[in-house]
């Protein structure tokens, strides 16, 4: 069944480099659209009714025996429950190994002077504070539309994206889910094609 944007209960464009947070109620579907292509969308998700339960990358990749997020992936929590399910993915695969960029890790990766730049952790902290949450609540995250292959010898690198303009991912909430997004501002590697762009966020009722 195709979802009709005219029927969406929520529809907005999130500007480049910006944070966003919203509770997606059980049964609702969240769509993220990569409007310009190759735009990393850093993504946290919590049980909205008890945020000590949150997305766990290791539990998610182990449950499906694969490090990439794509159609059919169930996003597992630290308590072993499914937070959301990926219903549709026109990109192909998404990362959950690379973490979120921070001022501090940027200083190590790209140069000490880079710690003054904007970063996803700054966005996450800004968004989380409105829910009474903070640094302690950032454990692991997904990077939608970001390409991070891992080789047999463990080599891991953020490389050129594979997400065309208009790529979408649809996620159904399996419980009331607090979703927090950072529209990634990174300028020092190809995760945003060196040009951070807006994304579109839509929500449908079940």
């Amino acid at each position: 069944m195709e979802l009709d944007p005219q029927q969406a209960v929520y529809d907005r464009v999130l500007a480049a480099r910006k944070p966003w947070a919203k509770v997606i109620h059980k049964g609702q579907i969240l769509r993220i659209v990569d409007l310009g292509g190759n735009q990393a969308v850093d993504f946290l998700v919590y049980n909205a009714d008890d945020t000590s339960e949150r997305y766990s990358a290791p539990d998610t990749i182990r449950a499906q025996g694969n490090i990439f997020i794509t159609t059919g992936t169930q996003l597992y929590s630290n308590d072993g429950n499914v937070l959301m399910t990926v219903l549709k993915d026109t990109c192909g695969r998404h990362d959950t190994s690379g973490g979120a960029c921070s001022c501090e890790s940027n200083s190590v990766r790209f140069g000490l002077d880079k710690k003054w730049q904007h970063a996803c952790v700054e966005n996450f902290l800004y968004a989380l504070k409105d829910y009474g949450m903070g640094k302690r609540d950032m454990t692991s995250n997904i990077n939608f539309f970001m390409n991070v292959p891992v080789s047999a010898d463990g080599t891991l690198e953020i490389v050129d994206g594979i997400s065309d303009p208009g790529s979408i991912v649809d996620l159904r909430a399996e419980m009331n889910a607090l979703v927090v997004i950072s529209n990634c501002p990174q300028m020092n590697n190809p995760c945003n094609g060196y040009n951070p762009t807006p994304i579109q966020l839509l929500v449908w009722d079940e």
Binding site: S52, S56, A57, P58, D59, I61, R62, G65, N66, I67, F68, N78, G80, R93, S97, G98, G99, A100, S102, C103, E104, S105, N106, S107, V108, R109, G111, L112, K115, V121, K135, R136, D137, M138, T139, S140, V148, P149, V150, S151, A152, D153, G154, T155, L156, E157, I158
Partner: protein, 246 residues
């Protein structure tokens, strides 16, 4: 395996303890000392978390550790990074090179494979998730402080399409890893088999934790100088050390 280079002068040892299979352990490892974790009988996995002991909101970050060093597997010369762009530990020695940042820790669910669990009861088979919860709660930390952990002494593989599988390559008797603390660090170890270990019998061997006063790093120290990222990581870490030094 054992060479003079690998033996520790007994006068430098400040702690030496055997951790039984299935058990958890935590300890403050002071800056400038080294934690040696030995697998005297081999090992099928040890799960490890670590924190800045002076401010535990600064935590080991598996993703940063992997992407800063462009590898999800760790070995001698590599670093354990915190989420604040600083170095918690340097891997100054490592005899097996079998350590991953991806696989996570065992849970009640992953322990369901142990076939005699029903007969013996779940309580006989400790899992790392619950071990972490217990160890952290005793230090007034808790569930929100459990980050993706480091796995020691085991190998997993990742296929080009992302498939994640167990590789039957584990620490042999006598293998060890040396972790030199670069700030005062709280370490939590859970001595339970890796969650991807397919064996249906629970076979967790004892490990040994030795803390020793290791030498001051030389100017050409491998871990401090191996990459430009390492140099910058230590610039951040040394600046922090000046701030908290007593």
């Amino acid at each position: 395996m054992s060479t003079t280079q690998h033996s520790i002068d007994p006068t430098l040892v400040t702690w030496d303890e055997v951790i039984p299979g299935g058990a958890y352990w935590s300890r403050l490892i002071k800056r400038g000392t080294t934690l040696r974790i030995v697998a005297p009988e081999g090992s099928r996995g040890v799960a490890c978390l670590c924190y800045n002991a002076d401010n535990p909101i600064e935590r080991y970050n598996a993703a940063d550790t992997a992407k800063i060093q462009f590898n999800a597997f760790l070995q001698k010369g590599m670093l354990l990074y915190s989420d604040m762009g600083r170095v918690l530990f340097s891997i100054t020695e490592d005899t097996c090179g079998l350590h991953d940042t991806l696989g996570g820790c065992s849970t009640v669910t992953t322990n369901e494979k142990y076939i005699d669990r029903v007969e013996k009861g779940d309580g006989d088979y400790k899992n790392s998730r619950d071990n972490f919860l217990l160890a952290l709660t005793k230090r007034n930390l808790g569930k929100q402080d459990i980050m993706p952990n480091l796995n020691l002494f085991t190998r997993i593989t990742v296929a080009p399409e992302g498939g994640l599988t167990w590789a039957e390559q584990t620490a042999q008797p006598g293998d060890f890893i040396d972790l030199r603390a670069e700030m005062n660090a709280l370490v939590v170890l859970s001595n339970c088999p890796h969650p991807l270990d397919p064996r249906s019998t629970y076979d967790s061997k004892p490990i040994r934790a030795i803390v020793w006063n290791s030498p001051t790093p030389a100017t050409d120290d491998l871990c401090r100088t191996r990459t430009p990222e390492a140099v910058r990581g230590f610039q951040n870490t040394d600046a922090y050390g000046l701030q908290v030094a007593d």
